[in-house]
Symmetry: C2
Subunit: 349 residues, 2 copies
DNA sequence: CTGAAAGCGCTAACAC
DNA sequence: GTGTTAGCGCTTTCAG
């Protein structure tokens, strides 16, 4: 039987109210009694019971994380950031993985409406409009990460900027025929990245050649899949001499497919066609893929912070934070920087 | 203000005790009143308050998942299985990612000792002996996944069998000089995989050539890293004509590094040196890596089930379940099967 | 500043 | 079968 505040109260010769006050850093406690209570609590190895606390205060000390189960890497990194911050705040994270859009609403209902959590972190998915509206009755704060809705705090990456940077880089390397291998343009991120591409071209005074832009028609994960990268790369290769010398790819995972297609065709990456991906998934590093890095960890940390702030001050204005992605130069772009020798590893046996 | 059992009791003209019984499927309630209560509850859109329930019954309807934060893929897949099963049981999952061994104990203490959860799923890490012992006082069930300790239920993969299968496959393809690129043999999985390798060789009547076995000395993630794969592959290549014609690699991530080293040396994979990995991480598929697949999803499902069973029957005997890994033939082994043309994708534009 | 007392919403033991 | 009652461990008035 773990110790309760009654045990502490008895041993410290105070009332339970005082113990509670000490434990909650309530100001009106004399330094003397505070110290005494704290000492007893620590001696007894006391841990507050979260449920009792939750019942009495209607705070739960837990948040819900609703994440899509189809984007491994992204979640993984971002989540580290979230947890780093939340652990510090002594909050628990209830995880809810979603495979199908239908489950999104279920998760929200299930947890939020039962006030099992104080707040929600909602990742990379479209917030169901129905819920967004109905949510107005609710007070549980929701922070959107890699997703946007005007009624909620959100953190997103500047995809246009990313597409722009990727294209500029290729252009600066001397490429004239730069194309874009895009995901389904139904997807907002894909569209924005494409816009960045076009903008960079325009600035460089290069007219957009429609044959150099191909986008997936797959609705599956909006074409963000290696199959789509493979298929579209094949199309580019079929163009023969009219094919691009460099390609901006709208996601690393598509770049993986594109790379495979290149290899199958007996072509080499920076030499025959240079590539810049998007996302900087773990794999990118292993593949030597030049790409656009999204500050996922930082986003996770900030998401936790924003949620925390809103919990303390529910009426503050809604904020929309935009992150700037960063170009990571590796080998697939054929840049000078990548011509250095491979890292030497200590040998082991 | 969400409805409580008092609201239901009033409207259904019964006592709160009866409402509680109905809600908990207690047998001694007449069909009549049960139906009436249920109708009111549904009309009021009643949801039990998990914390109140938890306080009163000292059941939490939540489990803790302690996962290592350095193995992305593995956790991801297994977790899907866990959740598929647990969602069904209407349990919440509190996630606790661990970056440093020290945090393991903290997480356990923090959650278990405060009885915030009914049970724990503990992944891929060494259970701290101190905790294991002290745990005897506790009643919170713990199930180990991809980890072993005699005092706890566990699910593990038969690594020896996997190493054996990988080696057999290479042997059956006609290779005579088959080597092993192993992780740190301090790690039990690495050791078991190596044993499987040796066993297959022995059965085939091939003497073990020590120069054909190299293992990482890195303690980091026990040498399960692409750097270690890269470094050791270089060593193999330095052997010149005495180098192996095929290699069993103790993890896919190492195979990635090995593949890179091969490429840098201007060599090709199935042709110059054939490779079989271990794990079947998502990446393996993209790379065409022949490997040993661990049934991660299934392990997740079963882990949830075992935990659930133990919760209902704490005194049942401890079970240790061993999974059989499966060979997945792709391209890097140079097997006939892989000689079929690449999958044709529907083109999109 | 501090003790006592009243719940938070629910379960479970106890009567009837 | 069903109502009543006593907590679960903690927070939060309300007195003093």
């Amino acid at each position: 039987m773990p110790p309760t505040i009654y045990d502490i109260a008895r041993e410290a010769k105070v009332g339970i109210g005082t113990v509670s006050r000490v434990l909650n850093n309530h100001p009106s406690v004399s330094e003397d009694t505070r110290a005494r209570v704290l000492r007893v609590a620590s001696r007894l190895n006391y841990r507050p019971h979260p449920y009792a606390r939750g019942l009495a205060s209607s705070r739960t000390n837990a948040i819900l994380a609703v994440i899509p189960f189809f984007t491994t890497f992204f979640f993984h990194e971002i989540f580290q950031g979230v947890q780093a911050r939340l652990r510090h705040l002594d909050w628990d994270i209830i995880l809810y993985g979603v495979n199908h859009p239908d489950q999104v609403e279920a998760s929200l209902r299930h947890n939020v409406l039962r006030n099992r959590v104080d707040g929600v972190l909602f990742f990379s998915m479209k917030m169901p409009e129905r819920f967004a509206e109905q949510y107005l009755d609710q007070k549980t704060p929701i922070v959107l990460v890699d997703a946007y809705h005007k009624n909620f705090d959100s953190l997103t990456v500047d995809n246009l900027q990313g597409g722009y940077a990727a294209t500029r880089h290729l252009l600066s390397l001397g490429h004239k025929r730069v194309g874009m291998l895009s995901a389904n343009i139904e997807s907002l991120p894909a569209r924005d990245r494409l816009s960045g591409f076009k903008q960079a071209l325009a600035e460089a005074g290069i007219p957009v050649d429609p044959s150099l832009i191909k986008s997936s028609a797959s609705p599956k994960p909006d074409g963000f899949a290696h199959e789509s990268g493979h298929a579209m790369m094949r199309q580019f290769l079929d163009m023969g001499s009219r094919k691009p010398t460099a390609l901006v790819v709208s996601s690393d995972i598509q770049a993986v497919g594109a790379l495979a297609a290149l290899k199958e065709a007996g072509l080499r990456c920076p030499d025959d066609i240079a590539l810049v991906g998007f996302d900087d998934i773990e794999l990118a590093q292993h593949l030597g893929l030049t790409t656009i890095h999204q500050p996922m960890y930082e986003m996770g940390v900030l998401a936790a912070e924003i949620l925390s702030e809103r919990l303390h001050n529910p009426s503050q204005e809604i904020t929309h934070k935009l992150f700037v992605p960063k170009l990571i130069v590796r080998e697939t772009c054929g840049s000078e920087v990548s011509k250095r020798p491979a890292t030497v590893e200590k040998h082991t046996a």
